[in-house]
């Protein structure tokens, strides 16, 4: 190949954009929701979060060392930290430390570096790890706790928390079910949706995040704020989140109208589980989602629809991770069919008719 890496041709000016800046902005957008949920779930969550993020950065470094590449600037681009961060946000808040570590192996080594590193992977690394953990360790990955904010009475203290995270035992009396889990279990025991929903936190608490759930998923409001920040910063556009949440909402609403005893309504669906986190932070992953706006609409639509189908009909209460991975596999084909129209040509690639009026 004859191209040199040094810029030897124009342009001789550049926008301020850089990969590192992009990743930092995404992380910044995650801070409010993360901070709130770390507070909400106490020390065990803090430990698990630290382990997961640290392990992902370490795995990235390890992979670079093994393959004989330079640590910098790759390690400094922030992508491994972001993957770790997102993975941590999807773990049960009091999950044992090794889920974070194993998750990092799944995410960084198997989900990303095996494909050649940043930009090469077909599947979202954090979702690969989440699903791999879920199918390998279903118990640890579905042990939920009710919110136990830091410094409250009845909340595990620092030492007790160490025992939870590093000892792997959640003491009796802390567990709780997630909203989606409750409905699913209820359905399997012959209860109707409305009976289950009766036992749930009200919608207000759901939106604020005062409920059982993954380490960083519960506060739809703060995640929405982060997402809007990303849209404002032009890191993402509205296409994927709007298409995904819209589709999930519409599908759930239609289902609910058809059979309210079997299907929860649209608002409940988009406020629960990883819907908001998925819509703004996971399905929008550059590497594994389509590059054109049309493609992103199709992708978001697919993720939304699949999420609803999996949540409603499959064995797992939560469907975002599976839905994202399934749509990831379609990304190349979506990209191929949603290329922009070339200047001076029809959609099919023929030159336009000579009278150029449109």
């Amino acid at each position: 190949m004859m191209i040199e890496t040094a810029t030897t041709s124009a342009p001789y000016t550049h926008s301020a954009a850089s990969v590192q800046k992009t990743m930092t902005t995404v992380i910044l957008a995650l801070v409010p929701a993360t901070a709130f949920n770390l507070y909400l779930f106490g020390w065990p969550a803090v430990f698990l979060f630290a382990v997961t993020v640290g392990a992902c950065a370490a795995m990235e470094g390890l992979a670079l060392l093994i393959s004989g590449r330079r640590l910098m600037p790759t390690l400094g681009d922030g992508s491994a930290v972001l993957t770790g961060w997102l993975l941590a946000m999807t773990l049960p808040p009091w999950a044992p430390w090794w889920t974070g570590l194993l998750g990092a192996v799944f995410a960084i080594l198997l989900g990303k570096q095996i494909f050649g590193g940043l930009g090469q992977n077909l599947f979202n690394p954090a979702m690969v790890a989440r699903v791999a953990l879920l199918v390998s360790f279903p118990v640890a990955m579905t042990s939920w706790v009710a919110p136990h904010p830091l410094f409250w009475t009845g909340t595990p203290g620092f030492l007790e928390a160490l025992a939870i995270t590093f000892g792997g035992q959640i003491p009796d009396g802390y567990s709780a079910a997630t909203a989606l889990g409750l409905v699913k279990t209820g359905l399997s025991m012959g209860q109707t949706v409305s009976q289950s929903v009766g036992q749930l936190p009200d919608l207000m608490d759901m939106g604020l995040g005062l409920r059982a759930g993954s380490l960083g998923e519960t506060s739809a409001l703060l995640i929405l704020a982060g997402g809007l920040f990303l849209i404002w910063k032009k890191v993402i556009t509205w296409h994927v989140p709007a298409a995904m949440l819209g589709t999930l909402f519409v599908a759930a609403t239609l289902g609910h109208l058809a059979n309210p005893e079997r299907f929860t309504d649209g608002t409940f669906q988009i406020l629960s589980g990883a819907a908001f986190l998925g819509a703004f932070f996971i399905a929008t992953d550059y590497v594994t989602s389509p590059v054109s706006k049309t493609g992103q609409l199709i992708f978001g639509f697919g993720v939304g629809l699949l999420t609803w189908i999996i949540r409603s009909f499959a064995g797992y209460p939560e469907g975002v991770a599976f839905a994202v991975l399934l749509m990831n596999s379609l990304t190349p084909i979506i990209d191929q069919y949603t290329r922009p129209r070339r200047f001076g040509r029809t959609r099919r690639g023929e030159p336009l008719a000579p009278q150029g009026d449109k």
């Binding site: 190949m1 550049h14 001076g344």
Partner: protein, 494 residues
């Protein structure tokens, strides 16, 4: 007056404020001018003078050769010191032939071609002749001989001349200054061109970050109902011909066609001014306005420089450099040429000389593509830069060709915006070069093949004639004709 949206595009930092308020000032005549024989796209001009000869201002010193070429003239009177090889203002830094002229300070004019008394009613061919003799080329940077484009009206029905006053490249302010200071000359030149093209309408598009130019041009155009001045949005690359025509008329030039095929011919404003000088006064193109700018230049300005002036003289005229620039560029930062050194002459296409510091260039090591889609969203041609680059990286030129790499304008928007600093345009320029070479080889091969086939046909015909003659003879003699097979095709050369 409706404007139409163009796809994509970017808003780079314009940095025009560095020079936009600096009136055009003439460069003091340097001690030596080096006039390149090849300052345009097309065949180099043929030398007409020799060392030791005295030349007069405006005298033709090299003659255009072939259909796409332009002559060169002496920018002032003086002596030809030599005809020698000098470093050309191209990335390659290769040497090219130049006439080295030592000015004698007398500014003695040569007899000039007779200007047209009333060019707006004159026979178009007379205008084209004057433009050709004046050696005018597109002054926006492409340096395409202007007369060729003035011929476009002879086969087509044109509706309008579009004058490109967009000047969308950051830093450059030379067109802005020309429009502000000489709107009358620009508009006169435009009307003359429109007449030569047979186009009833002139639309002048100016990016609306140039309020003074818009005002001056609008005021000047008020007297001519056929001339419209229109602001266009500040959006790089608004100066691309096809995109400017689309923004002004809503018409999209079909692939593989010219804007002339949809009724519009585009010329640059500075070119219009040069045409005014050539047609009204017989003056050849011997000087131009050059923006010297960038943060590594002490005092950026707009300089009227004789063609052939050393770039060092222009920089000195701006108070010299501040520190060591990270980049020297001829033209704008988006599509300009890197300069190998400052020791190069100004040519007809030199719109700017930029000395940029490291902060301005924002150069950084390229990283992997993160598929952010930015390049796809902004490509004004609807291309998919990341995919084309991926093909080119694996030397799959056909793949890149299928995605339309040859339709890339090399506008630089994708490289500019890529957060991974991938030099996308560099990939595309490489691919375009390779594909062109391949195409040339293919046409050459085909030509050889046709020639060989013609040769074989000739042989066959000769053989048939001979056989017929033999047969005629045989019937008289009673023996069957010897069937002569034409020989197998001779191997094609090369």
């Amino acid at each position: 007056m409706k404007l139409f949206a163009i796809r994509g595009g970017i808003h780079p930092e314009y940095r025009k404020e560095l020079a936009s308020d600096k009136a055009i000032t003439a460069l003091p005549m340097p001690q030596r001018l080096r006039i390149l024989l090849h300052q345009h796209i097309g065949a180099p001009a043929r030398l007409l003078v020799a060392a030791g000869e005295r030349v007069l201002k405006g005298q033709m010193i090299a003659q255009g050769q072939g259909p796409v070429s332009a002559p060169a003239h002496a920018p002032t009177s003086g002596y030809i010191e030599s005809v020698s090889e000098v470093t050309a203002p191209h990335a390659s830094g290769l040497a090219q032939t130049a006439v080295v002229l030592v000015p004698d300070g007398k500014e003695e004019w040569a007899p000039l071609p007779t200007p047209l008394a009333d060019p707006l009613t004159a026979e178009p061919q007379l205008i084209r002749d004057l433009v050709a003799q004046a050696g005018i080329v597109g002054m926006g940077g492409a340096a395409f001989p202007s007369v060729v484009k003035l011929h476009l009206g002879t086969q087509r029905k044109l509706e309008m001349l579009v004058l490109n006053g967009a000047e969308c490249e950051p830093y450059l302010t030379c067109d802005d200054r020309v429009m502000r200071e000489h709107p009358d000359e620009v508009i006169d030149g435009a009307r003359i061109m429109a007449h030569a093209l047979g186009a009833p309408l002139v639309i002048i598009g100016i990016e609306d970050n140039k309020p003074e130019a818009l005002e001056a041009m609008t005021r000047e155009a008020a007297a001519f109902p056929e001339v419209q001045v229109r602001p266009v949005p500040v959006q790089y690359p608004m100066g691309s011909e096809r995109h400017l025509v689309q923004a002004l008329t809503g018409r999209e030039t079909p692939a593989a066609k010219l804007t002339a095929d949809i009724g519009a011919v585009v010329h640059n404003v500075a070119t219009a001014q040069a045409i005014h000088h050539a047609v009204r006064f017989g003056r050849p193109l011997i000087e131009r306005v050059v923006t010297v700018s960038g943060r590594a230049v002490r005092e950026p300005r707009n300089i009227l420089a004789p063609i052939g002036a050393p770039v060092t003289a222009l920089i000195d005229f701006c108070g010299g450099l501040v520190g060591v620039p990270a980049r020297l560029v001829q033209g704008g930062p988006m599509m300009g040429q890197p300069l190998p050194s400052l020791d190069v002459p100004v040519i007809k296409g030199t719109s700017g000389i930029l000395a940029l510091n490291a902060e301005e260039t924002g150069e950084a090591e390229a990283g992997p593509c993160i598929r952010c889609g930015t390049c796809v969203a902004i490509c004004p041609c609807g291309l998919v830069p990341l995919e084309m680059a991926a093909f080119i990286r694996t030397d799959n030129l056909d793949g890149a060709n299928n995605l339309g790499v040859t339709e890339c304008l090399s506008c630089g928007s994708c490289s500019w915006a890529c957060p991974s600093h991938i030099p996308l345009v560099q990939y595309f320029n490489y691919a375009k070069g390779m594909l062109k070479t391949k195409e040339r080889d293919r046409t050459k091969h085909e030509r050889t093949k046709t020639l060989t086939e013609a040769h074989r046909d000739r042989l066959e015909r000769a053989a048939a004639a001979k056989a017929a003659a033999a047969a005629a003879k045989a019937t008289t003699k009673g023996t069957p004709p010897a069937a002569r097979q034409p020989r197998a095709e001779e191997p094609a050369e090369a």
